[in-house]
């Protein structure tokens, strides 16, 4: 049996799986992401790629294969599109250039403006840049914290439409959302958080059918 890509308490992800992390404001989604990354103490074992990473630094965890798209995008505003992608990569120069070309092919709207400063991009373009930045070093685990926040419906559809193909390539994806209706179409399973605790987990169908979660489901 292959080891789980991520195991943090009841949150378990296998390769190629998309798990929706659902909850309202203050439910603990960002805290969960920061705990996986190592910014916050877990208080329980964190297993990444089959290893206990409790004593690993943030940088070591990321280099081991995590890509992170934070809430609010947080692209490097003064750097160009190209520089944002290059700065986030630990690949050697030639491999980095090849990967840049791949990213620009995957995200044509970024490829059209490689020398534009990130702060000049629209919200949707910045979100694509944040996603491309997270994908530069081919992560095995992709963490997305409220990726649809503040985006126009077309940009939301474009973003979410990219997740299934990524998962099909073997990337495990944990996507945090308050508007559950948006992500359940693309997720395989869902975990519901409230006040920092997991209150429900299961397949998308099981979670969506839970009457206690009707308010959360209505979002999106």
């Amino acid at each position: 049996m292959t080891a789980a890509v991520l195991q943090l308490g009841e949150i378990v992800l296998a390769a190629g799986e998309i798990v929706a992390l659902l909850g309202g404001n203050g439910a603990g989604k960002t805290t969960t992401f920061e705990t996986i990354l190592g910014f916050q103490d877990a208080g329980q074992p964190v297993l990444l790629f089959g290893q206990d990473v409790k004593n690993w630094t943030v940088e070591r965890r990321v280099r081991a294969g995590i890509g992170y798209v934070p809430e609010g995008r947080r692209v490097f505003a003064g750097l160009t599109v190209r520089e944002n992608l290059e700065a986030a990569s630990s690949l050697a120069r030639s491999a980095r250039q090849r990967r840049l070309d791949e990213m620009f092919a995957l995200f044509p709207q970024l490829g059209e403006r490689p020398y534009a400063r990130a702060w000049l991009l629209s919200g949707g373009q910045q979100q694509m840049l944040a996603l491309a930045r997270a994908l530069m070093d081919r992560p095995r685990l992709l963490l997305l914290d409220e990726p649809t926040l503040g985006l126009a419906p077309l940009a939301v559809a474009d973003l979410l439409g990219r997740l299934r193909p990524l998962a099909a390539d073997g990337t495990a994806i944990l996507v945090g959302e308050q508007r559950a209706g948006l992500v359940l179409d693309v997720a395989h399973r869902a975990v519901v958080l409230s006040r920092g605790r997991i209150v429900r987990s299961g397949t998308v169908a099981e979670v969506a059918a839970d009457p206690a979660l009707a308010d959360l489901m209505a979002g999106g």
Partner: protein
């Protein structure tokens, strides 16, 4: 041009540490003092002492990062302010005790005398300062704009938390930035130390000039720091030549106030809405 090096070092340290390094002016003085001592021991001209002074002050920058900046990275910026002010006081008092309070002369870069180009006499020292300063500014631009190390230094300056989250070893880049800042401060100290001498109490003056350059250029902007420092130099020279030395400083502060009232973010600073 020497003030441009001081301001560039100041802004590199500011961006890396996320707080002002109040010991930066004293690093300039320490660079001048290292040049004085090395000149006395070896009798070599300043140009040959440059690499040695640069290395010594790079080590001082690393030490500053290790003892006054990185250990306080998770504390409020005021903690770094106080730690670097303490570091500045230690450097100033240390120099006073070891060298005395009287000014010393650092060796000239290329010896005394002047070049004559098309009938115009140009002092060797000012020409050498412009050439060395221009080469260093060019090298720094290349590092920041054309290398992976530079991109990552700018990413750390832009958002330290996010830089860590994409795998950049931030502490290493803070140390590197402080080493570079120390190097630039040390070389500036050597360049200034022949014409303006070296005295332990000069640190605050250097610090003030760098602070003003960065404030009018745009807080955190490398280009702004460079142009701010060059602007200060031209402004003071122009005012001194037209109405006298006594008015130069007063006129500078009036001009700085006017700029900051008209454009609070500085000439090249980012308005709040520009941040992604």
């Amino acid at each position: 041009m020497a003030y441009a090096l001081v301001a560039l070092g100041f802004v590199l340290a500011l961006n890396a540490a996320g707080a002002v390094n109040f010991a930066h002016g004293d690093h300039v003085v320490l660079g001048g003092a290292a040049a004085v001592v090395a000149g006395l021991w070896t009798g070599l001209p300043g140009l040959l002492l440059l690499p040695l002074v640069a290395l010594v002050l790079a080590a001082v920058g690393i030490l500053a990062a290790r003892i006054a900046i990185l250990p306080l990275a998770t504390r409020p910026p005021e903690a770094t302010f106080v730690a670097t002010i303490a570091l500045a006081a230690m450097i100033e008092q240390g120099l006073t005790v070891t060298m005395g309070s009287a000014p010393h002369t650092a060796p000239p870069l290329l010896g005394a005398g002047a070049f004559e180009i098309a009938g115009i006499a140009l002092g060797r020292q000012p020409v050498a300062i412009v050439v060395v300063g221009t080469v260093l500014v060019g090298a720094l631009w290349f590092l920041l704009e054309r290398t992976q190390v530079g991109r990552r230094m700018r990413a750390v300056a832009s958002d330290r938390h996010m830089a860590r989250a994409v795998g950049i070893p931030v502490a290493r880049y803070v140390v590197l930035s402080l080493a570079l800042a120390g190097t630039l401060a040390g070389i500036a100290g050597l360049l200034l130390g022949h014409q303006f001498l070296v005295a332990p109490t000069q640190g605050a003056g250097h610090m003030l000039k760098a602070y003003i350059a960065v404030a009018i250029g745009g807080w955190g902007s490398v280009l702004g720091a460079l142009l701010g420092a060059l602007g200060i130099g031209f402004f003071e020279t122009f005012v001194s030549a037209t109405v006298g030395d006594a008015w130069a400083s007063a006129a500078l502060y009036v001009a700085v106030l006017a700029i900051l009232i008209l454009r609070p973010q500085g000439l090249f600073g980012e308005p709040a809405g520009r941040r992604a």
